[in-house]
Symmetry: D2
Subunit: 117 residues, 4 copies
């Protein structure tokens, strides 16, 4: 049976890492730092932009945005690999938790945090 896409990506990422002998650096703490840095680089693309400028930025900087998204995903998959987290299950079960935290009748159309609903 062929690997699912997430496992395939993880295989490519660990092969890339092992070719460079980088597993020694990839502890969960530094992977979390790395992910946070990449998230900031993604944010920087939108810094100072007004809502009406965002879609122009999205077109103009598409390649750069895809690269930052890929970097974030890569560190996330490596962290899941290190920790044996099944990302698919983790997201599905978090959606269920959030459904309880944000019941439709209270949360509909508002961006308030759950403790302010």
């Amino acid at each position: 049976m062929p690997l699912d896409p997430l496992s395939q990506l993880t295989e490519k990422l660990t092969a890339f890492r092992d070719d460079r002998d980088w597993k020694q650096f990839h502890n969960p703490k530094d992977l979390a730092i790395a992910l946070s840095i990449e998230a900031a680089e993604l944010q920087e693309i939108f810094l100072w932009k007004k809502p009406e400028e965002v879609s122009g930025t999205v077109s103009k900087k598409r390649v750069q945005i895809e690269e930052e998204v890929a970097d974030i995903a890569s560190y996330l998959l490596l962290l899941c690999h290190e920790m044996g987290i099944d990302l698919n299950k983790a997201v599905s079960s978090k959606i269920e938790k959030n459904a309880a935290k944000y019941p439709v009748e209270k949360a509909k159309g508002t961006h308030a945090k759950y403790d302010e609903l």
Copy 2:
């Protein structure tokens, strides 16, 4: 043909979002901010921890780590959905770019950035 896991997750996430009428808030700029906030929450779990404490933290806080990882993945998938980014392709092509930036013979065993190799 059944959807691949990433598309299935994205379907669940957009259904959750649409039930709550939250699409109006999910512009790329705010999704990037949200992702960055979740990345910081992941980091916080490891704050002040020495390397020898990290594996203990990983066991003790496993549920919380899985939740933060799921939050990050969720905003990432929603951003990809908003922008029509194929995450699978984006990661694969970034790995190829990084292979050129970090050639094995220069990058092996060092955590130096590519401009310092």
Copy 3:
């Protein structure tokens, strides 16, 4: 001669820290992580807010914003203390550098980064 305000704050912060024997945790790497986490908490206050909602948020969440600002300043002052950085000089000399990077005639009225001016 009385201490200037920044040195007074730093004295209060190190006294607070030393009473709790926390100097052992305050290495520059973890102080930078802590600062980044506090910066994310500040951001969270403005998440999903449209420009026209920001001033309302600023009034409603004033106390919380002041606390996050204080946390960021505290970790910044502790980091400067650990590293012997004179914050006053550092900011003044960075302003001079930025003046060269962003000459008035090119940078006026645009939020482009210096490498795109």
Copy 4:
């Protein structure tokens, strides 16, 4: 009476900003984003570094660290200026709050969060 150092820095920063007509971009939300990005750049200097490598990094990258620290301080002071926050008071009153949250007898020598003391 001469201005205290923080007010002097704020004056330099707003003069720099006004020469470039950048006040229009400096709403609290984007200032918080900018601060968070600079905090990530500071973190990046320590990424993948083991505790025993941190002091070497601090010496080797001193100039760069000072610049990131200055950038963070600048956005923090501009935010305080925009919002009329007295940073001196904000930090002092946060220290008092933290003293209640982290009583010496409970917090001494531990990096546990207040809700886990």
